[in-house]
């Protein structure tokens, strides 16, 4: 009896027990698809987080004040920002953008108004440093900042709210009782968390200070390093200068300001995301296990029938090897087919957003899930058959 014939026997066996075959395959399918998809969701959310952080710019450093109540001794000032532009003391700093921001500005145009989520006052270098390029029109210039000209670049959301179907360039809007001329519209940006990153407006630092925030402390200073590899060097240069300006002892552990850089943020975020993925992976592994128990159950329920069948086959003169091969092929066909369908289901499922996350398949999870399901199928499909094939025919026939 050649191998091809044994395969035909297996196929006949599978089709003779359609419900059992289908249930076994379904169990494997669900287990495999769950593992791959859940891991993909974890991986996808991790990737989304790191993408957002990278979008902030990997070579920027953000300096924020930690001082309460804007006390003048701890506040960040325009002078400090200017001091950071120093070719000798800070050779790795490419640009410095002082930032003031207001979250209570209302922009009015021809009777309709819109409350801008963040109204930023800064210098032209901010656009590059914060990777927020201008999409239409132009940014304002250093000269605009020096002269305190009232020009503004608005975000997509603001443009849509105030100028539906109208080109906003050169239109005049009222902010805080002052007229601003729109010179540009920012490119659309993917939003981080709950804030709409496109609900924003950017104007020269001087104009915003004059109209909205006053000449007090800066909200933050964005420092751009010359190179992503120089971020750490730039950061230490910045803190050295700031410590001098703010009279902080070099040995002091606490500073009145906080420095954040994207790569350190990325690191902690990635760690969190990895924990998340591991957790989802564990949940998926449990579901695979439960699926496996389901398969085992179906196979064990049919052991009596199969053992009797093996008894009949042995009585008719089937060699043990042929019986074993037949049942192993049956089991592996089921688990391989179920596994393949599970992978297909996961691949299809990963095309859709799941709880707001675009899943990103981890290739190794496919190998792992398919491997485990095939092992389960082979073990629990093959083991009872192997045991039955060793029995004396009469004992197999009497089995119950």
């Amino acid at each position: 009896m050649n191998f091809f014939e044994v395969v035909r026997f297996s196929l006949r066996g599978l089709s003779a027990n359609k419900l059992r075959s289908a249930l076994t395959m379904l169990g494997i399918l669900i287990g495999v698809a769950a593992v791959i998809l859940l891991v993909a969701v974890g991986n996808g959310s991790a990737k989304a987080i790191s993408d957002r952080i990278e979008a902030l710019g990997t070579n920027t450093i953000t300096v924020m004040s930690t001082g309460r109540g804007g006390s003048s001794s701890t506040a960040l000032t325009k002078e400090m920002a200017d001091a950071l532009v120093d070719a000798e003391l800070a050779p790795d700093v490419k640009s410095v953008s002082p930032v003031v921001s207001s979250s209570s500005a209302t922009m009015t145009y021809e009777g309709s108004d819109h409350s801008v989520a963040t109204f930023v006052g800064t210098t032209p270098s901010w656009f590059a440093a914060s990777t927020t390029p201008v999409g239409k029109g132009t940014a304002f210039s250093a000269d605009d900042v020096d002269q305190g000209r009232r020009v503004v670049v608005i975000g997509q959301t603001v443009a849509e709210e105030l100028f539906p179907g109208v080109d906003p360039i050169d239109k005049q809007v009222t902010v805080g009782g002052a007229l601003f001329t729109i010179v540009g519209v920012l490119q659309e940006k993917s939003s981080t968390g709950f804030n709409d990153a496109n609900d924003t407006a950017v104007a020269p630092l001087t104009a915003v200070q004059q109209v909205l925030t006053g000449y007090g402390a800066l909200t933050s200073i964005i420092v751009e390093a010359a190179d992503p590899d120089k971020v750490d060097a730039a950061q230490s240069e910045v803190s050295t200068i700031l410590n001098q300006k703010l009279d902080v002892a070099a040995s002091s552990a606490s500073t009145p300001y906080r420095i954040q850089n994207a790569s350190s943020l990325l690191e902690t975020q990635t760690e969190t995301a990895d924990t998340f993925t591991t957790l989802l992976g564990a949940v998926a592994a449990i579901s695979l296990l439960v699926g496996g128990i389901g398969i085992t159950n179906i196979m064990l329920v049919t052991v009596t029938e199969r053992t009797r069948e093996i008894g009949i086959r042995k009585a008719l003169g089937a060699p043990r090897r042929v019986i074993l091969t037949q049942f192993l092929i049956e089991a592996s066909l089921l688990s391989v087919l179920g596994g393949a369908l599970g992978v297909a289901a996961a691949l299809i499922g990963s095309q859709f957003e799941i709880v707001g996350v675009k899943p990103v398949i981890v290739p190794s999870s496919i190998g792992y899930a398919v491997g485990v399901s095939i092992a389960i199928g082979l073990f629990f499909g093959g083991l009872p058959a192997a045991r039955a094939a060793r029995l004396r025919p009469i004992d197999a026939l009497r089995y119950e």
């Binding site: 009896m1 026997f9 029938e305 009797r308 009949i312 086959r313 008719l316 003169g317 004396r392 009469i394």
Partner: protein, 254 residues
Amino acid sequence: MSKPVLQVTDLTKIYGQGEATVHALRGVSATVHRGDYVAIMGSSGSGKSTLMNILGALDIPTSGRYLLDGVDVSKLSDGQLALARNRLIGFIFQSFNLIPRTTALANVELPLAYAGVKPKERRRRAMEALDVVGLAGRADHEPNQLSGGQQQRVAVARALVTEPALLLADEPTGNLDSKSTDDVLQVFDDLSTAGRTIVIITHEDEVGARAKRLIRLVDGSIVTDVRQSPIHLPPVGAQHKAQGRATVGGRHTL
């Protein structure tokens, strides 16, 4: 005379251990020659099935010797045993033991497949065997679509499709009505006429009466062993039938 088809010497079979020990066979010796048609009778629990299972190489005796076609069965490897079951023995169970959800034809083809017969040849021979038991028209029916008598006839077809030297049947008519019983017995008579060796277990006197030799078992031992008709002639049932046919034929010519 040529060597016997089967020869058992002092067979014993003990089931269970300790208190629950059952002596199913207590030293059975017998020899069956080619062409014989042996009926084994005995009350329930007398050890008939136990003996039959050992003869069919489905079970092994606790002690004693069993020569099948002159070969000591206890010395055969697993592979050789499979070969013996496939080529030498056709076994018919009281409970049919067809493979469920598998057509009659596929069931009958099974032993041929294990013998390595090519699919086409297999199909032809299986159809022939089904024809012998009068079920050629039910070839593609599954066991649950057949009556008990029809299932047993499929089982008979499966047992004789490999043309084994020895046909063993454990109460083949035990679950059948009188019409089906007649059909199956007719097949046995024909096979015996054709020279096959048959051993059949029964508890029905009229079944035992058709055999050439009758063995009675009581409590695991042979108590009587009677020859009812000569080994080299067709069995009585077949003779009756032959006469009947001749009569019918005679009427036709008239």
